[in-house]
Symmetry: C2
Subunit: 314 residues, 2 copies
């Protein structure tokens, strides 16, 4: 099976973590070499990697620490300290949920390297299964609107649909300001030979009105226990529009976190500079003010179906 480079954007080789630099895509496929947890966490903060990349990276950060501290009698204090740091990397994805898993293994005395590698293997397989399950909801001739980037799962959904002789096509919002839609989603869907059309974020209602799309599929960075999801800014308004036009709205979700509802999920506000400038080109007048909430919460009642990633964290 072939995957998008975004499906598994992190590798650990020896004592170096290789991180696909998503800020350089689609023009360059280049990996950052992180030699320690500081460099790895910086890659998260700078959005060099995002979405599932962050999840995989957390496990490799711990794996690296475990390898480096192999001779310590008790590694737990190292891991607890590292968890504190990792948890603060970015607010909206639940890093604590991930580090709690690892600390749980450490406390229970489970073999740490095996637990981490085993978990990553399960994660990979469950994500493939999640894409396959999603593809079953699709019909021949469907046209799917997607937003941001679901870390390589969208081409997989398409590949499974293609195997079942369903012809589907895609519309992708460009997803300002980081342009995940243009730079990542359109790029990976093109690589797999799918028909994909980019629109700017303000065209979603129009393509719905013109019936150019008939389903919406998005990912989620965070799933609360009541079914609310947090995902890239703009997801919420697409869900409201889909409801208005009576278009099914599907979400590929991680497992539910500790958050009871969407109100318990912190929304990251990023520096306004990322909105007012792009690749060195000034997009706004000098002294302009911007507001950049990086995520929003889509309430459960706007979601037609959650496609859960079924992973037991224990």
């Amino acid at each position: 099976m072939k995957f998008s480079p975004l499906f598994w954007p992190i590798e650990l080789r020896g004592n170096t973590i290789y991180i696909l630099d998503e800020t350089l895509l689609p023009h360059k496929v280049k990996y950052i070499k992180a030699k320690n947890y500081r460099e790895a966490i910086k890659a998260i903060k700078d959005m060099k990697t995002r979405a599932v990349g962050q999840v995989i990276l957390v496990f490799y950060i711990f794996l690296m620490a475990i390898k480096k501290n192999k001779n310590k009698k008790d590694i737990k204090p190292v891991l607890f300290e590292l968890a504190e740091i990792v948890n603060c990397a970015r607010p909206t994805l639940s890093f604590k949920y991930l580090t709690d898993m690892i600390l749980g293994w450490a406390v229970s005395g489970a073999p740490l390297e095996e637990s981490i590698l085993g978990f990553l293997e399960v994660l990979k397989n469950k994500r493939i299964e999640q894409a396959r399950a999603m593809s079953e909801r699709l019909n021949d001739g469907d046209s799917i609107l997607t937003h941001c980037n679901i870390s390589g799962q969208m081409p997989l959904v398409g590949v499974f649909a293609r195997k079942a002789n369903k012809k589907i096509k895609f519309f992708a919002t460009e997803t300002r300001p980081y342009l995940q839609g243009s730079r990542l989603t359109a790029w990976e869907l093109q690589k797999f030979g799918f028909d994909v059309t980019l629109i700017s974020d303000n065209m979603a209602a129009q393509v719905m009105y013109e019936k150019k799309i008939n389903k919406v599929i998005v990912g989620a960075d965070h799933l609360a226990q009541n079914g609310d999801i947090a995902n890239k800014i703009g997801t919420y308004q697409i869900a409201i529009l889909a409801k208005h036009f009576n278009i099914p709205f599907y979400v590929l979700c991680p497992p539910p976190s500790h958050a009871k509802t969407g109100k318990d999920i912190a929304i990251e506000v990023r520096p306004e500079g990322e909105l007012l400038e792009y690749q060195g080109v000034k997009l706004a007048p000098k002294g302009a003010k911007g507001y950049y909430p990086a995520f929003d919460v889509t309430p459960n009642n706007l979601i037609t179906e959650h496609n859960y990633l079924e992973i037991n964290r224990d």
Copy 2:
């Protein structure tokens, strides 16, 4: 009274039309010199000028033709031919509505230069009055979301509100792909000392949800007889969102055209290149496909109040 340069972006001096090049804003305030109607129409097609700039320019194109053909016994054939060309400049704004006015004057034997200059004077005064009337709907403390650019009327609304001791602030969508919100609206509001915050087009629902804004004001390129409006792409979805969040949605409109409903208004589709590249920076992978409808139609039932430009075309 001081105006934004966008309020009256066209001047005729001698036989040259000076057209504010809105593509260079906010970094440069520069005027294109059009010596003939071809150069002037090219400025419309290339979106060097837009919105009310196009309206004023049409009248100056005819005024220039009238001056150049002063010695012709019957100027009507020249004007009818010119109208045919002007009507095709861009589809969504009703150029025919404007050229029909001028041809009407020509056929009825009205003094042409005086009619055109008289109309432009009325247009200017009525637009000021329209902004004043809009300001009366505002309350102290209001925070207004706007989209695209209303050709200098937004700062005027603010100035009238300020005179009435109402403190108001603004949120502006950047309005991809042409960035009228960042480049024009934020710029002119800043110049008049207003508090203005830029957001990307996918943040509208979030600022509504967070109650950062409590009113929406947009312009319109076209008003149909049933109250449907055509305006910059993205207006429609903001109207749906405003309805969802129960936020009043105001429109500064031109007079109604010949179109019975929004369905009679042609939606211009512009070249995908304008979406996939910005100022020479590639925003998407090589070979990517884009769809760029430049306008959308907001149905009457989503509009709280139309602020009409009351001009009698006869």
